[in-house]
Symmetry: C2
Subunit: 379 residues, 2 copies
């Protein structure tokens, strides 16, 4: 880096982009945001927000021209747009090939399987019969999934019996092609963030437990030694994925942990991940800062916990109204409690409006505080 001000472009203007910017300002990098709606969460914290449709070739061309490197905050970017960026010769991290591979859950799973990484049994679905014979082998329930564009449970359908197949297929088909997966009877859902830079340096964050609520990440629990017994296995899985993909950036890996200690990789996210928000205060270097470092091929920072326990709770909207009301006075009145509000203009039920992180010596005490603090915020 020989220039005073490096220009980083982010495709998307949500909270992930916002937190990347908040982490990157310390280096005096300039952040450019391309987003559909103006005054996006990320756009509120930078001078350089372009509100336009990135599916328009000219939009993406003009945006890319004003940036030294591009990255993304969500993987729902069309192949066509990625191709335009590649043709322009502008650096995009994660690299186009890695994004495309992860975008398609079928190809993602096939790749993981080839690498010897345990995944739930799956098949490509062309018609109802495929699901029937798959379920006959494995028993119900099975999970029908859109190959692309699924998130937070959208694009998934749990099929409990044969007579649901037709309905499930017709519901999901509008989102594109489908795959079907074995239902995994897990003990816990766990996740990890891994980061890699173009030089091949790899760092892995602590393994955390994630608790979902209506298919949306609600709680993340991080504790020293909590997953010590499986961390070797997880590290091997995470490194082999990013090394195989020659991956650059932070990747979130969602996994199932079965009772007997078996790990099943559920899904990859080619970006910073909700399960890593606790790292802002809980680790020596946050996932957001390490993402910035990695896409500029800088040395990666320590991913260790800087405390014994950290709990992150999402602030999911409780009301449908456009006037946010908050009561920070009460919610901040707990020890080592940090609140992040994303600046979304409209509150909607279930929408990710912010998050709270609590650090502590004891995970249960941190969890208790996190829940109490959340209750104080009238959002």
């Amino acid at each position: 880096l020989q220039r005073a001000q490096i220009r980083i472009g982010i495709l998307g203007g949500g909270q992930l982009a916002r937190m990347i910017i908040e982490a990157g300002y310390k280096y005096n990098f300039e952040f450019h945001i391309l987003t559909r709606e103006p005054s996006s969460p990320a756009g509120l914290v930078t001078k350089y927000e372009t509100a336009a449709d990135w599916n328009d070739k000219d939009v993406i061309k003009n945006f890319a021209k004003e940036c030294d490197v591009l990255t993304l905050e969500n993987e729902f970017i069309s192949e066509r747009v990625i191709d335009v960026i590649e043709m322009l010769g502008v650096k995009l991290y994660p690299a186009p090939a890695a994004i495309k591979l992860i975008q398609d859950k079928l190809i993602q799973k096939q790749t993981l399987k080839k690498l010897g990484i345990p995944v739930a049994d799956f098949i490509q679905v062309s018609n109802d019969e495929d699901i029937k014979s798959f379920a006959n082998d494995l028993n119900y329930p099975v999970i029908l999934k859109s190959r692309t564009m699924g998130y937070d449970g959208k694009g998934n359908y749990k099929i409990d019996s044969e007579n649901e197949i037709n309905n499930a297929v017709s519901l999901l088909s509008s989102r594109g092609r489908l795959l079907c997966e074995e239902f995994v009877d897990f003990d816990k859902e766990i996740a990890v963030q891994v980061v890699r830079n173009p030089d091949g340096e790899v760092k892995i964050y602590p393994v955390v437990e994630t608790v979902q609520k209506d298919h949306i990440c609600n709680l993340v629990l991080a504790e020293e030694d909590m997953f010590k017994h499986i961390s070797g296995k997880v590290h091997k899985i995470a490194s082999s994925i990013v090394n195989h993909l020659d991956y650059t950036g932070v990747m979130g890996i969602e996994m199932f942990l079965k009772k007997e200690g078996e790990i099943i990789v559920n899904e990859l996210a080619p970006r910073v991940h909700n399960s890593g928000h606790y790292s802002i205060e809980g680790c020596f270097t946050s996932q957001f800062e390490n993402h910035v470092r990695s896409i500029l091929n800088l040395p990666l920072g320590s991913t260790e916990l800087c405390c014994r326990a950290a709990v992150m709770i999402n602030i999911l909207g409780k009301n449908n109204n456009s006037n946010l009301v908050m009561e920070l006075e009460k919610a901040l009145g707990y020890n080592r409690t940090y609140i992040h509000l994303y600046g979304k203009r409209e509150n909607r039920i279930g929408r990710k409006m912010g998050h709270i992180t609590v650090l502590g010596e004891d995970i249960n005490e941190a969890l208790r505080i996190a829940k109490e603090s959340r209750k104080c915020l009238n959002i």
Copy 2:
């Protein structure tokens, strides 16, 4: 706080304002900067920068109108401007009375003395004779100081003998009225940050050692228990100052520590302070975040160290040129090393261009790394 977006105005656009903004974005507050020069360090990280002369009544009026609360990043703001803000009825923190008191080093010292806080002997200076008789009582050297507008050694003159008096007085008189102080033969220079909110909650950061280079803060050393033996005394001093002044915000307190353990308060700064930059990564809540919390009367965050040792080294410009060159690749290649670049357009010898913080288990090892990392940056 019942509104979604609180607007905080900062008088001044330097690195202190910049780091306040970086810390405050997590709450989705809006930051407005009033600065003489456009594209100031703070202006680079917010949409709302007004480049104008705040001594112009209309400028300050218009700026204040767009903010819910005002604060400052340096104390060199004229009484007239403070009066305009007061007349407008816009909240300014620290409060006008506290700023005015601290601005005048004579009144500042008189106040400390009245509170029973140990300060160096001092007199008000009207003419050369005042200095002569003061020095005859105490012996040379003595320190001649401007009552106002002094910083980083500017406005100070160490008088070693009687024949320097005339020169010293004529040099400093252009800056306004003068005071003269006893020269304190100290063992170490130490500092502390204290923060207080309008509700009267007070939190005090660890006592740190500061090392100056040409009268500019160069190094700050923070270590668990390093000043355990005097921390009770320092806490008493710090609380009594902020409580007496009914102070709101962060205050930096510079002190001398004498061999026998005596503490002499040197100077107060009514703002976040260079000696507290280490707190961004080294403490559970940074001085910048606690400043934001305090001026909004929010509960204050933990000021404890989150590691055993932290070292901050200032990146003081080594060259006079306008093209910054940096080599982050090397400088970031150390464990738990954090680099902050302030975005100043021009590099000048001795100018504060950024800082590096290193966390560790051992203060000497952290210091070694901080110095090595600094050497890698060609600024």
